[in-house]
Subunit: 331 residues, 3 copies
């Protein structure tokens, strides 16, 4: 077990040991979640503030539940009813929650870098408050990539999920790569785990410069990252297919012809999965546009689709992250 | 005590035994609510998700408090900040909350049948999650009718509220019957308890076809259900008068002349209650338009008005329902 | 220790003993907040309803956290999603929460007098429910003034904060006095504690009639209250400078020339503080418009600015108020 982080902001510099620490910790919390009383007293009397400057029900509920199951008190901040509209800066909002006695902050913002800026400020103030990035712009969404990793590794070894299980696996990530913080975080975690990652999207959603940038920012992963502007080469022999949510507003901004054409070219269907490894599984971070990113019947397939398991993994992984960050604080 | 339901969706097929089980259980929780520490550990570690696709403060707070007093953790979903706007289907939202580990779902939706559809899906998935209808369109609002029943029966015998106390009583339901889920649920519970139910409303809000439909759908109740297009015959010798909330938008859709005229013809006042049984009491599901459905001074009358008791009953009845549904799960 | 109040609505008639009771109680709760488990079981099983008819994240979170740290259950009511829009009166909303079993109500409303009206109604109904004014129009915001008092007195004697420490101190209150409920509450608490209060603002935001009115309503304080239409005389030898939030809408209503001019004339900067006592400290109730009421670097000064301590004090003071009001209920 290796953990020295106060904050979880990006997976770009996560080590294999850290991935495994998260996976093992999440695994033990998954066991807690099968009990009738799905609660542990770990964070009793501590306060987890969910500062969601961008609205989200799903992710906020998942973090809120994770915090409650660790017996923490939670505070929910929603931008719509906030002082933000009164002219207060984001850092000032964060410092207000700090001054109230918040122990950990879970932050979502539509601008990349906001969680990092808040974490930097907390460090500068020398307060032992952990900051967790719950999605910042098109930058990163580390807890999503970690729950994807946990879902995949648990499928391969439910007792001992570990990142080395991904060694040599082929994983396709399909869809709006350019605008996806989920894709970015997954590229780090999957390549670090030894998988081959194949990105597939129309060129407007996956410019060549994107892959170039990623590869040059970390030459290590350049051998493991491949880009395709058609779907088929990404799917051939793939072990896992990750589909990404398509923001419908992409269409109005002329990056896409129509949802129907997108589905014809990049939608995942049972038929297309025949190109993959026979044991292939499909993931999607949700919420799903049925019949766009993925066909409706495939989404509901209890074997092929891991979408429901991803949501369940989310609570366990977020409990693990809060636990590890809070433990860092105790020490 | 008789209880075999996982879900509470409609009162159309509730048995007398089931009504009595709810009344007795609510009665024991009412006792808890008189203590200084108004809490029991029954649902500790369980999660009750309030999925309110239609906004409501009053009902949502009542369910939230009932869940908290059973020591459950609660998750609140409000449509306004939700993924619904992102194109996710309602069933997918429910399945997301299921996958997070929700044990019971309390659902309100402006379309009739949504709670039933979610319950069907939960059963199809073979998960032991209870679904409670907190109001679906113009269909049913069972917990409201059960709290009305509890309020009335407790008035007649506070120690042993039971549905047979209503045998032979005359109950007037006055107002916008056509659009009222509260009226529909009450028709089932009151007639099943042996009361005579007299509906009174202008013909636009109580079409003849409505009563015909109800009677043919359950011939049992046709002897006990009467319709009137004026107020007086419903009030004569009535033991209880239930007024319904009037949606002001009915007027703009030409179903009503004006609020003043409505009040003149169907508003409940002290004076009009002289037609009733001398012990008559008045109910209203709230929120009240003072001076429209009911005169302001009558609403505040501590003897004649049961409105405040209805709200108090609401918490006890909802605790009872969550307890019984959760107990069904334990077994 | 002296406390006989069920409600906290205004500081106009607070006694020195009452101020000291709040300060001492808050002091003991501050100690609780330094522990790892920042929670006491004082209000276990009781319900604190936050009825915020005017939106606020900061104050609502502070009260919510105070209630949770006393182990109370909390209900949050936000006007935007409420029955208010359905035509229910405010008193009816309060009575609904009462009937559900609320033990204490924390109320914010844009109209002065609403908390008082609700408290009067609770007393009339002879129910032992405490009402706390969390800001009503331009009238009062007592918990803010009490946390300001606690912050100042704790600075002077952290072990035994007491109001007599303010005897003979000079305190400047700068800004939009006319529209500020914070200023009004502070005028009562600071003058009652023996301080000299110097108000400074442009005449449009501090009409002569304002001071006249305050003085005649309580002749006791007329010796201790001074008004200035320029900044300098208020700052000279001041021990504390309280800046007030400037509502930007004041400008559009022609009460102010521009934010820049306001800052030039009344903005607090390091340079201007040279007029004050060398140990001067600056307060602001937040949220701050950086560079308007106060210069950005001064706001962040860890010695000169007490803004962060005010927020921390807020939780302790609100715990104290809920505790004292709840204890009043027990007795």
């Amino acid at each position: 077990m290796s953990w020295n982080r106060r904050h979880v902001l990006s997976l770009a510099d996560f080590s294999v040991e850290e991935y495994n620490t998260v996976l093992q910790t999440a695994s033990s919390f998954r066991e807690v979640l099968t009990r009738r009383t799905k609660k542990v007293p770990t964070l009793q009397g501590q306060v987890v503030a969910n500062l969601f400057f961008e609205p989200s029900t799903r992710t906020r509920s998942s973090f809120e539940l994770a915090a409650k199951r660790l017996s923490a008190d939670t505070l929910n901040f929603a931008a719509s009813t906030s002082s933000i509209t009164k002219g207060e800066t984001i850092l000032d909002t964060a410092k207000t929650y700090l001054a109230m006695g918040t122990d950990m902050m879970v932050i979502r913002h539509k601008e990349a870098g906001v969680p990092q800026a808040i974490a930097d400020e907390m460090d500068r103030l020398n307060v032992k408050v952990g900051v967790l990035n719950a999605g910042d712009g098109q930058h990163e969404h580390p807890s999503q990539a970690l729950l994807d990793l946990f879902t995949i590794c648990s499928l391969m070894d439910v007792e001992k999920p570990r990142s080395t299980l991904l060694e040599g696996k082929k994983i396709a990530i399909v869809g709006d790569i350019l605008h996806s913080r989920v894709a970015r975080s997954n590229i780090w975690s999957l390549t670090a785990s030894g998988a081959e990652v194949h990105l597939a999207a129309p060129p407007t959603l996956l410019p060549k410069e994107f892959a170039d940038f990623v590869k040059t920012s970390n030459p290590e992963i350049s051998r493991k990252l491949f880009i395709h502007w058609t779907l088929e080469p990404a799917l051939i022999d793939a072990d896992f297919v990750m589909t990404l949510r398509l923001q419908k507003e992409r269409m109005t901004s002329h990056l896409l012809p129509s949802l129907r054409e997108y589905h014809q070219q990049f939608g995942i269907t049972r038929d297309r999965l025949k190109l993959c490894n026979p044991d292939v599984r499909v993931l999607h971070p949700g919420p799903v546009n049925r019949g766009v990113e993925i066909s409706s019947d495939l989404m509901d397939d209890p074997v092929l689709s891991l979408i429901s398991q991803q949501v369940t993994s989310g609570v366990a992984v977020r409990m693990a992250l809060l636990y590890l960050m809070g433990g860092g604080k105790v020490g």
